[in-house]
């Protein structure tokens, strides 16, 4: 049986969702019998393969122009896109920044931070530009939303195993959490 290809990537995220993914423990090994993780932020290969995957997973909020690229690329290369975690689903904690003027926020982060000496705001042409923090579904179409900060390992396992059974997972009970 060919394995189902799954790619994951993160945007503006804290890695909490990835920790939860690893928290599946031995169930992760069972899953790997049936799926192939082509690329993830915590393995060697980072980008989803050009030939595409069945399931794409994004965690984190869309926070800058690079996030937009990653998001669009994932959407193009996967059939089913999962927004994983509160940031990807709702925008999450990053949206607090939306209340501030962008220059004000950058100044606070790169110059005024208590631990910073002689700070400068990065301004290279090569790096991305910050944008208003937003959930993934504001940039591309999302097929499945898995909220939670982070979503529990059980919820992630449930979603992946339902998909493997050819069903659309519906989160209920303890699998559906916003915090």
């Amino acid at each position: 049986m060919t394995k189902v290809k799954v790619a994951a990537d993160w945007l503006a995220a804290c890695a909490g969702c990835e920790m939860s993914l690893l928290d599946m423990d031995e169930r992760l090994v069972q899953l790997l019998d049936r799926i192939e993780l082509t690329s993830t932020p915590i393995t060697d290969l980072k980008h989803p393969p050009k030939e595409g995957v069945t399931v794409g997973i994004l965690s984190g909020a869309v926070n800058n122009t690079a996030n937009i690229e990653v998001t669009k690329q994932m959407r193009e290369r996967c059939k089913i896109l999962i927004a994983l975690g509160d940031c990807a689903v709702f925008g999450g904690i990053m949206t607090m920044r939306n209340f501030f003027d962008m220059n004000e926020a950058l100044k606070r982060a790169y110059i005024e931070t208590e631990s910073t000496v002689d700070g400068i705001i990065p301004s290279s042409e090569e790096i991305s530009k910050p944008v208003q923090a937003q959930p993934v579904n504001q940039v591309v179409k999302v097929d499945l939303h898995v909220p939670g900060c982070p979503p529990s390992a059980d919820a992630i396992y449930y979603v992946l195993s339902e998909l493997l059974e050819g069903r659309i997972p519906i989160l209920t009970g303890d699998n559906l959490k916003y915090d």
Binding site: V89, G91, I93, Q134, P135, P147, L171, Y178
Partner: protein, 572 residues
Amino acid sequence: MDKMMNIRINGRQVRARSGQTVLEAAKAAGIDIPSLCNHPALTPHGACRICLVEIERQRTLQPACTFPVAEGMRIETESPKVVEERKFVLQMLFSERNHYCMFCEMSGDCELQALAYKYGLDHWTYQNPYPKIPVDGTRKYFIMDHNRCILCRRCIRACGELAANHTLGVKFRGAKTMISADMDIPFGDSSCVACGTCLQICPTGALIDRKSAYTGRQAQVERTKSVCMFCSVGCGTEIITRAGRVLRVEGEWEEHNKGVLCVAGRFEPVYTKRDRIQTPMIRKNGGMVAASWDEALDTIAERVKGTKGKKVGAWTTCKTLNLTMSEFVAVFRGKIGASVGVLEPTLSELELPSGGSLNDLLSADCILVIGSDPLVTHRVLGYHIKRARMKGAQLILVSNNSNEMAQFADKKFSRDELDKAIRICQNSASPVVIFGEGTNQKEAQKLAGLKRKAHFIPLFPATNGYHAKVLGLQAGLDVSGMEVVYLLLEDITLQEDLMKQARNAQFLVVHASYREPITEIADVVLPALLWSESEGSLYNLEGKKVPVRKAVPLPEGLIPENEVLTQLAARL
């Protein structure tokens, strides 16, 4: 008798009373219709639209909380159409403001969140570009975070209907609507009396208790039903604790106060910073030295035994629980023939009836207040007077001094004009007389003329005054001729002149919870328990015996007052 009618809810035959709303009828039949703005203690409002149901022959879905039942009505509460609309309403509620659960104090206990879980809301259909709304932190005890507010107006109704204070209202219209205080001033500067009823009734994290925020969710805390011990109204409370610590106090909906408390019962007790007495203490070489219970009790017993009963005086505050007060009398009067009294007036010399209730107040058409200022000393009763006034009762104030009630009084009389006030009561259908310690015997005799007609509510100056009155205890400290004086003070502070008087005794025992000037000048000090540690009962001003329950474990080495008295008696 209300007329009964037959309705069908989800195909089930249900009997409903005429005048019931669809929501009430469903609830009585055990059928759950979700609601947010509705609360059993408040008038239905129909603000949130979560309770929409399908009613046959109605053009659109109708809010169950405001729709009255009618004979033969057929209602669907979870039909596909209803569920779809309810999800839409939820999406609209989430779209207006900041409802990110992950950084909300109420997450886990929030009624809005619970509904979103129930209806499987896994993302927001209408992404939320929520506006930046300020947080009002100007009140001492709790914070208003407008960002979490769903404009259900429970707080406004609690403020108006339950506390009868009418501080809260709304400003602006539509999505810009905002809860506001008085004529749009900061909550802390407003006419708010900090009763905290709005805080208790808020379904989301819009109102946050400063002290207990983030200290534990409902599932992590324990709730102990008890009674507020800070005045004789004796409001039903729930003491919320975790790991043996009091987090906050809430009003009990099922008791006569119907969930309402005042600042003195809800907030002040958990903010107290007074210095607790942790062990018995004995005066040695001019200072107070920690001692064992045995040593302290032996010292007292020795001194008492060496003194004639008549020369021993024992006074207790009325704040003690029933058993302690009875034990106090049994030990000091019964066993050694000492003079026994209470520190606060018991209103017994007025020889007026008692037994009037807060419910009697709410159904009164005329309320006479004399010798008291309920809004200062018995606030929850004061709120009930204001509520009765809203329902049309006439408030008659008899007072020569400035009185918080004055601004709400329909008629004000000086004490010389009491006859006029009584005449108005005589001409009304269901008068209630509220009398306090400022009432004199002559006035009481005149008021006695209303005995047959009116309900009487005595405002005992201290919590268990009713029991002290029943026990026939003499009020007032009088140590003249006393060699040994025993004062059971609990957590009260003794006035300076009384303190000086007490110190005239050769030997002074003080039994109290906190270090106070008097505990520094006593010969023996015994530690007493606090309101949250006591177990027993007391009488509220309605004359009803109510159970006081221990919410936290006793601090190490502390013994309940009645047991201390028993141990002392064993030595005499």
